[in-house]
Structures are given as C-alpha cells and as structure tokens.
C-alpha cells in the first residue's frame, strides 16, 4: 500500500520519483503542466483534449504522463480534468507562477491577495492573483494563476483562500 492511499496526500518526492515534476530548465521556458494523478484509473479526457499530444496514456486505465517538451501550457487539460489534479507551473516571468483549479466561493479577482494552501490543507504563505480564467460554461472550474515570491510554493501550493472577502 502506498502512503497516499492512507493519507490522501501525495508527497513531492513521490511525484518526482514518478517523473511528474518538470525540470528547472523547462520551467524557465514557460508554463507547463504538472499532473498529480498517480493511480491507474479509467479516465482519459486530458489525453484526448491535448492539442499537441503532449500527454501519453497507453490505454485508458493508465495514469497520464506529460511530455514536458511538447506541452505548451495551454491549460486545456486542467479545464477538463475531473480530478482537479493538474496544475500549471511557470518560471519564465519575473516571479514564479502557479495555476490552481478552483471551484469555491468567494471567487478571487485579479490583483487580490490569496493565501496559498498545501496538499494537507495547511496555509503556506501569500501570493497575488495575476491571471483568472473562467473556462466556458461547459467546465465551470476557474483557473487561478498566482504569482509568488517563494518558488517553493510552485511545488507545494495546491489550494487557495481569498483574503478579506
């Protein structure tokens, strides 16, 4: 039994071991998808929706594997993922950025400060919302892009809370 099956939390180490964490070099080139879908479950929308075939999935019960060199960071897979298990990481801008799928109220606005939360539900620090995508009516998960000072948050922040609303 893997630890995450007991805790509901996957560690960064484990994700690295699976090869799910994009390299520093790739992150400097622009946004790229990091998947945290680690089980072999029957699900393939990310694979089917990817416009550049950057997601490998030998068959529907296989977990997705992102080819980071092919991925263009378009977020289509994030929009469609039923597990909300895909995040976008980017170190090509002035400050590092992480994009998180968000389906709660209150909805943040561009420029808002948000508290970033880790996989255990613990507060990690603050960030500023620099991008907000409300995907079309069909998907209805907002994608919130947050700029952070501490680049560690890219790898650990997986939820957020709007401050002062």
């Amino acid at each position: 039994m893997e630890d995450y099956e007991k805790t509901g939390v996957v560690t960064l180490d484990y994700l690295e071991k699976l090869g799910n964490v994009p390299s520093e070099e790739r992150l400097k080139k622009g946004p790229v998808a990091m998947t945290e879908c680690v089980q072999d479950i029957p699900c393939n929308p990310c694979f089917e929706v990817c416009p550049v075939k950057a997601i490998e999935m030998p068959e529907i019960n296989h977990r997705p594997i992102v080819n980071f060199d092919k991925c263009i960071g378009c977020t289509l897979c994030m929009q469609v993922c039923p597990g909300l298990a895909i995040f976008m990481l980017d170190k090509s801008k002035e400050k590092p950025r992480v994009t998180i799928p968000y389906e709660l109220l209150p909805m943040p606005e561009r420029g808002d400060s948000v508290v970033l939360i880790d996989r255990n539900g613990n507060d990690m620090g603050e960030g500023k919302v620099v991008g907000l995508l409300f995907p079309d009516k069909k998907y209805r998960s907002a994608l919130v892009t947050v700029e952070v000072d501490d680049e560690r948050l890219l790898y650990e922040a997986r939820n957020l809370r709007v401050v002062g609303k």
Binding site: M1, K6, Q39, I41, P42, N44, P45, L104, D118
Partner: protein, 474 residues
C-alpha cells in the same frame, strides 16, 4: 425560523420558482415551486419528520429519494406520503406521522382513475441507464413508456455536480448535471416515448405487465419488453442511535444541497471514504458546510486518490481505521463518538472521541433495488462485489425471465458512465430481440460492449469483473 437555503454556489444556480405558503402542524411556512414537501420542511429547520412504528423513536430524512420510510408524513389528511419526492403545493397541510398513521381523513382527494396502456418497451427508472435505454431503443422506432418516480427525470445524475471520469468519447470531463440535462432533452423530444413521471412501478403480476401508480391514475402497462433500471439505495450502518434525525445517507445530503439548494447541516462528519463519501464531502464544502472529518473503517481510502486529495487540501482530515460508535443528541444529532479500530475491525478501548456535529452522513455503499425483479421471479444472486442482490443475465442484459432486461445500478453498483452504457445495451437488445432492428443495432451494441469492457479493465475494475463472472452466466 431558520432558512437553510443556499443562495450562492460556485457551480449551481438554483431556480426556485414562486414561493408557496404551506402549513406544518398549523404553522405557516414558505417553500418554493421547485421543492418537495420534505426539502421545504428541511429548509425551514424541521429535523423530526415521523415517529417509528413500534418504539416511537423520532425519525428524520434519511435517503431523500423515496427509498426509505423515514420522511413519511400526513399530507392533506393522507398518511404515508413520502415527503422527499412529493412536490410542494400551495396551502398544503403537513403533519408529522406517528407510527403507521391514521387512515385518510377524507377520501375525496384520493380519487383515482384506471387506464390500460400498451407499448413495445416499458422502462422502469429514469436515471442514466433508463434514459439511455430509451434513447437507443427509440433510434430504432420502438414505442416506449418510461416510468419514473421523481418529479424530475435524470435519477441521481441531476445532483452530480462534479465532472465525470471515464472516456472523453462518453462525456468524461463533463459534469453529471450537464449530462443529465442532455439525456433528458433527448428523451423528452422523442415522439415515440411517453413519460410517466411521479409514477411508481409497484407490481409485476403477470408476464409482460407492469402496474404503475401515477399522479392520479392507476396504470396497467402491457409491453413486449421490460427494462428494469431502478437503480440503488444507500446502505445503512449499524451503530447506536443510527436512526436519530440528522443521520442520513451521503446521497441524501447531496440531494438536499444540489437538487434543492438546502444545506443539510452546518457541521458534518462523513462516514466512509469511498468515492461517494469524498465526492459528497467536496460538494458539502462547496455548499458552505463544514465537514469536520471523514472516518473510514478500511486501512486505506477507497476513493480515487484525486478525489481524496481535493478534500485533503481543503483541510478535511481522513481517518482510516476509524469508525463511528454512536450518535448522540436530544431528539436530533448533536454529535458522534468515533473510535479507532484494530486490524480485526474491533474498537480499541480508550480511543473514543466525541465530535460535535449536527449531521452524520453515511456513505458505506449502495445496494441494488431489486424488488420488482424478485416479484417477476427473476433468478437473483447475492454478489458482494456488485453491492448485493442482482439478477443473473446474459450478455444482452436479459434476465432469466424472458423479455425482462436490467441496466445500471440494479445490475450491480458501478458508476453513471457504466449505467449509461448498460442502458444502451439493454435498449438495443430489446429492439433487436423483438425484430425492430438488425445488423446496424447489433454492431452498435458490440461497440458499446467493447467500450464498457475497456472502462472496467483497470485495477479499479477488478471487483466488478469478478462480480460479473458470477452473474453473466445465462
């Protein structure tokens, strides 16, 4: 008076319609056109709906989908009305029912008509399986009657606000509520399909005949083929005070908040960390309900990891090897005592802990509702891997009684996506077997079978495959 109605939701927009005045034991209350009597009462703070038959214990809403007897009340003088599936009407008079209830005060309201109907296929149940069966059978010109218990078609799909897993070809990534809307529209637009909603199929008395209690009419429906797609009911769990109002199925919580926009409580504990438990937990959080924890008796989380991860990062602890020992509270739930279990599933003394909550949601699995099949004399087998009693069947989903087919959760507890595919197979089989369709339908059926097989091929499908081996024997 409290109002537990939800007004802002990240996914849903509640269209409630006009307010309706009604009376609970003489007390004026306000509900809405979109609500059932039970939802309106719950929204206005009622927890105690009835008293039990023998021991006079208070009972609250438990299943919210007409499967249990907890919310039966006296409505306009008529006892035993399942308030959870009865649409609210202006000026209704509702009273708590004590035990079996007195006989109707005045029988004029109970005036009913009788009618005989005929069809090629009668489908019992308007959830994903029943709707899909109707759509695929209608493609080949079958005259269909679809019987459904609820005021609104769609079964349990209409409360599934999450995006579906599965194959992109079959709507994965689309929310259940959107899939429901599309399926319902297709059925409603089919000129060959007659829909009997708010109608209960209650009897199979002679071959090819289903007895149905409609809104004000008793129907005898004769059909060449019958497709049973009656779905499932939530299992109960044995613990002290498990009948206390405020103990309810996770699905009931989901119905209240997602179908009717009513908060099931303010602070809840979830029992069971399978997919239903964690998905409903996530939806409770979306509705603004605090979920204090999820307890799971198994040593590991049964749900897909990604679902569990969603609630964990929102701060909800999942305690494996923990269970509920008892519910406490005066007349309604005020808390739950939880306990750690050892490797033999026994409570470890000294690990008991009281958690103050106003709701206890139970998600320990579903069981197929096979009553009508039993009545029809279909060969049934108890198969734990499929959730309980299910019909033996052949590859076409035809049971041991000729002309009766099964599809969806009644055939074994799985998911909406598999129910949709089974519905298609049953619908196609019915039209093929009665000679309405030929090669085209057979090819279509084969391709659906292939896709279904693919979905069940992974490690999470192991138990289902084992279960199917025991029943797909005809």
């Amino acid at each position: 008076m409290s109002d537990l109605r939800i007004h802002n939701h990240p996914i849903l927009k509640y269209v409630r319609g006009n307010p309706l005045k009604f009376y609970f034991e003489g007390d004026e209350r306000i509900g809405y056109e979109s609500e059932t009597v039970g939802a309106a009462l719950y929204a206005t703070g009622l927890r105690e709906f009835s008293h039990s038959f023998k021991l006079d214990r208070p009972r609250g809403m438990f299943c919210a989908i007409g499967q249990c007897a907890s919310c039966r009340m006296r409505v306009d003088g008529v006892p035993n009305i399942r308030t959870c599936i009865t649409p609210l009407k202006e000026n209704m008079r509702v009273e708590r029912q004590m035990g079996a209830g007195d006989k109707p005060a005045n029988t004029s309201r109970a005036k009913t008509y009788k009618k005989d109907l005929e069809a090629d296929i009668v489908i019992v149940g308007g959830g994903p399986a029943g709707l899909s069966a109707a759509i695929y059978a209608a493609k080949f010109g079958a005259k269909i009657i679809l019987v459904d218990r609820f005021p609104k078609l769609g079964g349990q799909l209409i409360k599934q606000t999450h995006k579906f897993f599965g194959s992109r070809k079959h709507d994965a990534g689309t929310r259940g509520i959107d899939i429901a809307e599309r399926l319902i529209k297709q059925v409603e637009e089919s000129p060959e399909t007659m829909i009997l909603d708010e109608s209960e199929a209650f009897g199979y008395y002679e071959p090819g005949m289903i007895a149905v209690a409609g809104k004000d009419t008793l129907y005898k429906i004769k059909a060449k083929k019958i497709i049973m797609a009656t779905g499932a009911a939530e299992k109960a769990l044995l613990f002290e005070n498990n009948d206390l109002p405020g103990v309810y199925g996770a699905g009931a919580a989901q119905t209240l908040m997602n179908t009717y926009g009513v908060k099931p409580g303010d602070e809840i504990i979830m029992v069971g960390a399978g997919n239903v438990g964690v998905i409903v937990t996530y939806q409770l959080l979306q509705a603004g309900v605090k979920v204090k924890m999820i307890v799971e008796a198994m040593p590991k989380i049964g749900a897909y990891f990604v679902h569990a991860a969603k609630v964990r990062r929102m701060g909800v602890p999942i305690l494996t090897r923990h269970s509920i020992l008892r519910a406490y509270g005066n007349g309604q739930v005020e808390g739950a005592t939880i306990v750690q279990l050892d490797d033999n599933w026994q409570p470890i003394p000294g690990t008991e802990k009281d958690v103050d909550v106003d709701g206890i949601a139970i998600s320990v699995g579903l069981r197929p509702t096979y009553g009508l099949l039993n009545q029809a004399g279909v060969k049934i087998r108890f198969v734990p891997e499929l959730g309980g009693h299910v019909a033996l069947r052949n590859r076409n989903l035809e049971t041991s009684v000729k002309d009766i087919y099964v599809a969806g959760d009644i055939a074994g507890i799985e998911e909406a996506s598999t129910a949709i595919m089974e519905g298609r197979i049953a619908g196609l089989s019915a039209v093929i077997d009665m000679g309405l369709a030929g090669k085209e339908a057979e090819e279509l059926r084969e391709s659906v079978r292939e896709e279904l097989k693919e979905l069940r091929a992974g490690p999470f499908g192991t138990r289902i495959r084992q279960g199917l081996e025991k029943v797909e024997v005809l």
